[in-house]
Structures are given as C-alpha cells and as structure tokens.
Chain length 303, copies 4
C-alpha cells in the first residue's frame, strides 16, 4: 500500500474544507494557534512511518491524553477500574453534568471529562509522583524524551475551568474523588496540556495496535486488555460523535479539542492527524475527513 | 480452528450461569417459553456451520429484526436515511422517551425502539407490500422459506405495547411518522415476531460478514455500506450495554429480548446464540457469556 | 369599590397589548376564532356582576375545565385522590413527558395534561355517565343549562392529539389508567371543549370563593377542601408561569389555551377574562395584564 | 382568638410525631443539635406575641436567610432583579444541577441554592460591606442586636459544601456570577449560619405581613413588593414541597434545614416554628404539622 501517496491524495481531496470550522478559543493559549495548519502521520506495525505537511509541529493533545491515563490506570487496577468509571458511551455532550447527577456521580466512561477526572484522582492515589510517571509513560510510548507539559496552557485551563471545577465538586460530593479537588484538577489539566506532534502520536499509539507485547515505562497490558482499550475508544472516543466516527472511519480512535485525532488499525497501523478547526461537536473537521478517506481508500476499517 | 469443540467447551464453562436472569415476561407468548434452553450456531465465510444444543429451535428474534429492517432501508434510501434517524449510541435505556423530547423526536439510532419505528414507517412508505418484502428479504438471507411471522406474538405485543404506542405518538407529534400510527406499530410488531433458530440466524448474518456481494431479495448493499451497518451494530446494538459488549466481545452484534444474540466477525464468520434468561439490561445472560468466551478463546475480536 | 369603572379603565390601559401574541392554532377550531376579542366579568360574593365588552361570547374553556374535574374528583375521593396525582408545581412545560418518566408515571399535579387525564380516567371509573355528570356539574355551578360540549372541537383535538395520546399511553404503561385509553382521551377532550362566556365562568367560579356551602350537582366540598383546591390553583394553575401569575396577580387562578383565565379572590369575588392571543407560555396576554392591573388597582391580592 | 391556647393544643396534638424524621447531619454543627426540641412563636400585627416551649432557643436559620437576602436585593434592584433569577417553582430537589444546565445557568427562583448564590453575588457587588449590611438588616427587622453569624457553622458548610461549589462553578461558567466564587460562597454560608430563635424570627417576619411601611436598616419595600415577595414564598418556599405546604397550610412561608419554618398571614400575623427532625423533603416534621393545624384551627389560610 503506497501510504505516502494516499496521505497526499487525501489532503488534496479535503482542501475544500480547509476553512470550515473554528478552533477552540475557550483559553487564550488555544485561541492563538494558527488555525490553518494540517499534519498527518501514519506508522505501520512493520515499522515504516509516513507523514505529510505539519506532522512535526507539536500541538496540545488535550483529550487524547485520556487514552494514556486510561492505559496507566488499567495497567495498575485491572478490571477493578470499572468499579469507579463506566464504559458506556455517554450519549450527550462531553461535559454534561446531568448524567452525573442521574447516575450518582459514576462517570459513564473514561473519556468524558468526569471520567478522566476520576482516573486522574485514581492515578494520584496510586502513584508517588503522577506528573513524572505520566510523562515517563508517554516518553516510553513515543520514544521521545523531549515531550513535556505546557504549564501555561494548564494554568490557563484552570483559570477558565469553571465547568470542570463544577464536575469535580459534584464527583467529590458523590464520594468519587479521594484527593484534594484542586490538586486533581491541576494534574488533569497538566495531562491535557502535553504537546506532541503527529509523528510522535502515531508512534505512541502504535503500542495500541496490539502487534507486540505492551510494556512501556513499567506499565504492562495484556493483549486482551489492549483489545478492550480499543473497544472503549471505539464506542466512547468522540464525545457525541462516537457513532459517526465509527460509521465513517471504522477504527478505534480519540480526538482532542486541540484539533488532534488518533486512530488505531489493530495489527496494521496507527495514525495521527491534526488540524485546529473543529466542527460543532468539538472534533477536527479536516481530521475527521482525512480519516474517513483513509479507511475508504485503503478499505481498512475494522468491519 | 476447531469451532465445534470451542462451542462445546464454552457451554461447559457457562453452565454455572444457566439459572441466572429472568426471561422476558411482558407478554404471555414470551413468558411461556421454557427459559432453560441454549443453542448456538456459527457459520464461517468458507461455508462451514457448527452448532450445539438447541440450535434448531426457533425463537422470537425480536430486536434482531431491526438489523434486517435497517439493511432494507439503507439499501433503499442510502445515506439519506440518516436524515430521519441518527447513528449515535443512546446512552440510556432502550425505551426512554426523554431523549426523544430533548432531540425533537429524531431517534438517536435505528436500534432503539423509536428508531426502529421510524424505519418501519419508512419501509411502509417505500414498499407496496412491506410484510411480504420483509419476510422475502429474510428468506433470501437465510435461504429458508419457512421462516414466518408469529401473528399471535405480534398481536400480544400490540395489546401490551403502551410504551411503544407512546413513542409512536410522540414521533408523530414531532412529524417523524408519515403513515397511520396503528399500521406502523403493527408492522413493527410483526417484524419483531419473526421466529428463527440459531442456524438460520447465523446463515442470515453471514451476509453481513462482507465476504461476498450483498444482493438478497432485491436489496443490494455495497461493501462500504455493510461496514457501516456493522459500525452501527458495534456502537448501538446492545441498548445500554453497547460499551460492555464491545469491551467483552469486540464484535458488532445485536440482541433481542427473546434471548437471541447475533454477532459478526467481518470476513470470518457470523454467530448466533440463544438462551431466554436476560440480565438487567435485557440481554441474554448465557448469550453474552458465550460470545465473550468465543472471542477470548479464538482471539478473534475485531480489535 | 367601583368594579365597573375599574374593568373599563383596565381595558384602556392594556389596549397597547391588543395585538401581542398569537392565538392557539394547533387545531382548526381554535385557529379560526377572531383573535381580536376581549371580555371580562367579575362577580362578587354579595351577588353583583360587572362585565365589559365580549363577556357574553362563549369560547373554548380548555384547561379551565381541569378545575371542574378536580373539584368533582376531590368531592368523590377526598384526600385519597392524591395517591394517584401529585400537587406540586411541574416546573416545566405543561406537556412534558420527561417528568412522567422520572416519576414513574405519577403526574405532578391535576392541571398538567397527564394529571388531568388521570382524573378523567378516575371520573370514568367512578361515574356511570361521566359526560352527563360533568356537564350537570357545570350547569349547577353556573346556573346555565345551555352550556355544552363542542363535539367538533373535541374530535379535532383527538385527531391532532398525538402528544396527549403519547402521555395517555405512557400513563397506561405505568399502570396509572384503568379504562380504555381512547375512551379516556375522548372524555378528556370533551371536557376541554366546553364553551362558556366570561359571565358564566365568573358565576361558576364564585363557588370556589368559599363564601357559602359548596353543594352543586350533588358534589359537596368542605370549606377546607375549597381552600385546598385554591391552593392547587395558586401553585399549579399556569403551566410554567405559576410563579409569575402568583407574583403579578396574587390570586389562585387557572388559564386555558382558548384564551380564558379565571381567578378567585377568596371571600370576595371571582373573575373571568378572555382574549385569544397567547404569550409564549400559553397564557392570554391581555388576560394576564388585566388581572395584574385588577389586583394592583384594588390592592386585593391574597398576600 | 386565644392563640396561646391554640399553640399549646397544637403541641399536644403533634406529640405523636415527636420522634419522626432525622435532623440534618451533613455538617457536624447541625448533627450535634438535640433533635428533640420544639419551639413556636406567633406575633400579631397588633403587637402581641405568643410562644411555647423552646421559643427562645436560637438555632441555625439556614435557608430562611434567603428571604432576608431576597428582600435586600429586591429593595436595591427592584424588578430588574428578575433578570438574574427566575420566580418559578423548581419542581425538583432544591440542589439539582440539571435544571441549571437546561436553563443556561439562570436559577429558577431565589430560594433554591443556585438562586440564593446568585443573590449573594449580587449583594456583594452592590454593597461595600455585605456581611455588616445583612446582619444590620436582620437586627432592624427583629429589633435584636445580639443576633449574629455562627462562623464555625459557616466554615463547616464550606468544608463539606461540594455540591454548592459545583453549583457556584456552574453559575460562573454560565456567566451568572461576578465576584470570586469562594468569596460568594463564604458570604452565602455566613448568611445561612445566622442563629435566631422563634420569637426573633416571628418578630422579623412581622415586617412581611404588610401591615406597615417596610423600612428597615435602610431597605425599603413598597406594599406591592411585599405582596410579591410573599407570592414567591408561597410558590417556591419549600423546595419540592411548595405545593404540599400551600395545600396544607395555605400561607406564604420558608423553611430551613436547621428545622425552622416561618410563615406569614398577610395583615394578621407572622409565625415561626422550630423542631430539628426533618421529613424526606428536608422540612421540619413537627413544624409542618404545627402550621397545618394552626391554619386549620384558626381557619386563617389565605384562601
């Protein structure tokens, strides 16, 4: 498969969408990013990497970090993890408080903010230095030591993070958080603030294609657990567009409001795409299009 | 792969669950079924069929019929179908009216009752004799002409179908139904009343494994559409347990309150299992367990 | 108090609102009413009646009928009535199905449609000829035998009544309705279809001012029960504007989508006003204004 | 009317309920109150005060403070106040976040926590020293200078106040709060922590019986405004039991989780009752019973 040509062809085809959508602007650090950028990188299980355009420009991975956090928590807690967070799609916007109230504070899945905050709290309880461990895990996955938090972004998230503070307080009210709320939120914001580029993300997610033993930074996951983690991405990875992404792309994946999307074709490849302009559901417009075309051209959805 | 042995081993392993759960009892016709039955059948794309125990006992396919109806509607309307029904997981119990109100009557997906009723209405609008066409489609898929509606069950569903009547009236109120409400509901109930056995269901769903051209009873679907239909099963096929099934089994599938579950391993096989006792989410206890073990033993989830 | 002058002054003051709002148009019979009409009548406990403009033009009383039905049911069942219907304000639009689902089908109060349908069902169970009894009760209250159902309106309500049918089916599903759904709805629609004018309504509601023994058409209510019925009007009589009406007018009252509003000043007077144009909450624009001015001028709110 | 005898008779009659219900225990300061206490005081517009049992024991007035805050805000902002808070009954539990989300953060009324927090914020914006002003207002209303905040209670509320913090953050997210969240919450908690006895409360609420010019501590309210404030108490004063209180008692009133209830009979009297044991809706069991009997015996509901 000539992936390089496919990536370039895809870009030509999605050019008409280059100005559609708006980048995230709820914090200054995201609002000031040049929205007219696009990068893509694909890494196969046999080791080749293909990329195009701004694939080496780092951006805020935001909610993509929730996959890393889930992998760590799953490695540490095993199936017990599901006692504190569900694995059902949320069926509503990613920041809804309603569902939390209805379900007594147990978040529906690890990829809505409430679920990710509960997992951040769990990692804080389990790990002596969660900040260092989280970064170390990403370094191991991506093979790149220079990846780091953007503390300015994290601080900015905290400053404007009234909704997440509301969620965290509601979780605490329902007894779902053990540690200090402010500490948990800051750790959560730091994880979201990690900056990576498409090549680094594709490399990091190669670990989830299940073609090798998963053992990174001290965190091990069985082949069965990797499959299950992919299953959670498949059903819950795209806020209220999980069904749409599954329908159009047919791969497990995860998006972030920074404009990044990663997807995994089990046993074949991982792919990361980035373009800051988002659709109304908070997912990258060009990113969604690019991945739809990728699995259409290659006929490589999982179905 | 010695599927016959696997099916038999699975049964031994799930025997401890043989008395767990209760069969559906909301209509007499379902309540009087002997709950202590179990059948399973698996058909590979190379043509072999394996089965065990009551695999030739017909049962009420109930919501599994929604896949057949969706396939017909998708064949007829193409992507326009998604203007009248969504494809996002529902995130709440399958019969909730709340989401309908919030979303102005557009059902979230074709597998909740509201979505299936809208599709029943659509088939009535498009087809001169929807009853005959629906049965003919199943005959073509399964290769078995003797499959039929159970009109007694359909009538019983109608008699006790206050919740579905509420849903249909709400859909009509929101302008989502074209035909007479009673007629649409009766067609919907007839589709749910179809009786098939595991071998027939496995054969019928072989068409959705995407290993051949899909052209049955005059209804054609491209390979891309079959993938997409599988994607909808993956995210929406199990009411409020879609995430759980995806997590434990890792295959697109669909369940019914009659105790049947079908699943598809694209390009490999289709499988149908039946056992009437249901868990609290309305899915067959032994059926869920059996399919979890099947993909665990064979390492054949899609992820 | 020169009520006649007050009524006339009020009309002059609210003239600027004469073209505000739209009449109900969900059924043809209501849509064809000339919207530019206004009538008002006030009857004191000492027996005088004051009226102005179209106070003798009959109109569809619609939800005002729910007060009469409640009075009958309260007379028959006493405090046991509250086992089947609540008495808390609904806090949402009058036709919401959400609350019914949340509260397992027990309607929050007798003045939302769900509650009125449950009361209609109860009257059908208790009375041999509910149609005749209901009309007889109104004849006795108003002293006017010519008041009648408008069967064309009732039939039209039924024809377009998908939302009420949804509500009734949901109530039946939750075991809240004993009789045949269609029969209950038709009785409910007939009650809503009664046509009265302002003078007749003011006379009928004089019975609820609690200045005399309540014994009409065989239905008796103690002074305490009348107070309680007024309390229910006070907190629940105006859909999602109960607080607003209580705030601006300060009297127990009830409105209908036909544009009528009645209010009761305990021990002093009853008043009925009619003007078909409705605000966004479904209450008569000029009617609300007129009653606000009435209690402002007379300083006769209950507070 | 021999109110003294009535108060004493009422107590005898409600003795069977003396052990029903549980006192509030969400903070230690409330949990440690002796629950087996009861006090009542009634002050007439002609100046007599009647009381019985622990009418001179101060307790935490909690949500009763919301009436004082509303009176101050209404005096300062007039009808503009309703731009930031509604006046419709909430129809759900007093601390629900759901309604806030649905209505974009505008609290439904000033007596749910969200509404009271918005009013606390407003007072902080308008007043140079809100703590001093609030206490001064109560001193003026009650004629008692020794009434004070219980800062230990306020601090305890803050410590366990996750739900209120969630609400405040959600309000801030929706742009409904101007000041620092922590400051607003502390002011809110201080207001709730004020300690008064029944005699002092009855005296303070005499001002709302509308028998004299309202001018206390520099805050003036017209007779019309007092009526309207009573209307808000009538429809919104008892969480999800507003309808029940209106039905059984028939007076405007307000309860607090400290076990206090005040009610106002316009132009006649104010009454305060206290007993710490609460029913499932958070209102004093004996308090509700006592006031029901009071208006039954005296036939003095407003209806």
């Amino acid at each position: 498969m000539d992936y390089q040509k496919i990536l370039e062809d895809i870009y030509q085809e999605i050019l008409p969408f280059a100005n559609k959508g708006e980048q995230a602007s709820y914090i200054p650090a995201l609002a000031k990013v040049n929205p007219n950028q696009f990068g893509i990188a694909l890494t196969t299980t046999s080791g080749e990497t293909y990329s195009y355009l701004q694939a080496q420009t780092r951006f805020s991975i935001q909610s993509i970090s929730k996959v890393f956090a889930l992998a760590m928590a799953l490695s540490l807690d095993g199936e017990d993890l599901w006692k504190i967070v569900g694995k059902e799609p949320s069926g509503t916007a990613f920041n809804s408080l309603v569902q939390l109230e209805v379900e007594k504070g147990k978040p529906r899945n690890p990829f809505i903010n409430a679920g990710a905050i509960v997992i951040a709290d769990r990692l804080m309880t389990l790990l002596p230095d969660p900040d260092k461990e989280f970064l170390g895990f990403i370094h191991a996955l991506s093979g790149t030591e220079s990846i780091d938090y953007n503390l300015e972004v994290a601080e900015s998230e905290r400053e404007y993070g009234y909704l997440n503070a509301a969620i965290a307080n509601l979780l605490k009210y329902h007894g779902r958080i053990e540690n200090n709320i402010e500490d948990v939120l800051m750790f959560y914001y730091r994880m979201c603030s990690v900056e990576m580029n498409c090549i680094e993300l594709a490399q990091a997610f190669l670990a989830f294609t299940n073609h090798q033993h998963f053992d990174f930074g001290g965190y091990k996951l069985s082949s069965s657990k990797i499959k299950r983690l992919n299953a959670v991405m498949q059903t819950c990875g795209f806020y209220d567009e999980a069904g749409e992404f599954s329908y159009l792309v047919g791969l497990p994946g995860k998006s972030g409001v920074g404009g990044g999307i990663v997807a995994v074709h089990p046993l074949h490849y991982s792919v990361a795409v980035w373009s800051p302009r988002l659709n109304s559901k908070g997912n990258s417009v060009m990113g969604m299009k690019a991945l739809e075309l990728l699995t259409t051209y290659t006929e490589e959805s999982i179905f």
